[in-house]
Symmetry: C2
Subunit: 209 residues, 2 copies
Amino acid sequence: MTEGRRERADAVRNRRAILLATEELLAHHRPEKISMEQVAAAAGVGKGTVFHRFGNRMGLMRALMEERAYALREAVTDGPPPLGPDACPRERLLAFLDAAVDVIARNKGLLAALGHAVTTSQQPPDERPGTHPVHAFWHAHISTLIAAQRPDLDAELLAHLLLGGLQSDAVLRLLERGESARLAASLRTLVTAALDAPPAADPEAGAGA
Amino acid sequence: MTEGRRERADAVRNRRAILLATEELLAHHRPEKISMEQVAAAAGVGKGTVFHRFGNRMGLMRALMEERAYALREAVTDGPPPLGPDACPRERLLAFLDAAVDVIARNKGLLAALGHAVTTSQQPPDERPGTHPVHAFWHAHISTLIAAQRPDLDAELLAHLLLGGLQSDAVLRLLERGESARLAASLRTLVTAALDAPPAADPEAGAGA
DNA sequence: ACGCTAAGTGGACTGCCGGTCAGGTTGCCG
DNA sequence: CGGCAACCTGACCGGCAGTCCACTTAGCGT
């Protein structure tokens, strides 16, 4: 962000060092036993610096996740089909889910740490800590694509269900065993089935409020 | 459990007091900021007692969850249709998912605390901390029922996806706003669609290993 | 080149928590 | 009633999130 006030060079350097150190730690240790002090030490900076730059554990993990998911976001908003806006919704959805599985598979440790961090640090009650930007964007995208094809379904809720399933502990563990292809295939099956299902025969069906 | 070794009366009393106090705390405070010390104090026992009876935070939450899910388990293994073993798999599955949504909706705080606890306390590496009995049973049941009707699907993975979705933060938050009927309806739609989908036209499809 | 200033930094400090343990207490059986 | 083992307790330990303020230093104006 090129604002009027430029960021000092050492600040930039330290931010990168901290992010880098966090990645390194995440790659070699269980995410829940990584302390902010360890991160600071590994990055070669003081603990205060880490907190100064990222606020708390969740801020740190969130920053890292945003960086990791940046490429996918770009591909979705500006890229070529099948991910980009020029493909038909159905193809976009399936392609996006594949890509999301990929991102998740390559960042399982981070995801676990983030899920943990979301509930670890308590915010003032008027803040919504659970909605980190990546999740929000993914949900909005999935939800929109589902709604585009099946306005009769509760797209928002289905998107939550799908996304939630992807981030669950059990699935993360599956991914750790290298089953990402299996996951992607089943996800495809599930979503395809939902999109192709007959339009809700029972009377009380329909999209939510 | 009528074993040969009987439990001392005060031990039983304390166990109940602790569980009760935990429920009380869970009802009035954010689950992640309930400490074991608070539980002990609220139950009127020493901190050591809590750890003695339940091992750690996860043990406590797990015990509580098992108690809460006991009725559903009974209904599934011994009860009448549509939950019990005398109903057809499809009906059982849909009924079970409805019931599970209900249990989850009535225990969202506990679920959140449990999910949090799973990652909070680290076990020795040879223990599998993530698989608490309730989740294992639910997964096995869903998985079996899906497999019974659609042997061509990857029932185990689909069960993980479904169950994971139900426990996700976003869905828990939805439930907090009283949207459990909406959730149950969409879940039904999704599962019905999966069960009724045409049997995987593409060549590489099929159940996983 | 140089000094000024505010952004940036570090690490000691506070408060709290999970988990342990040695010693005192108490239900229960014979 | 006496003895034993199960049980309870709360002080204690190691460690961590997050705060705070004195100190450093990059970048700019002159």
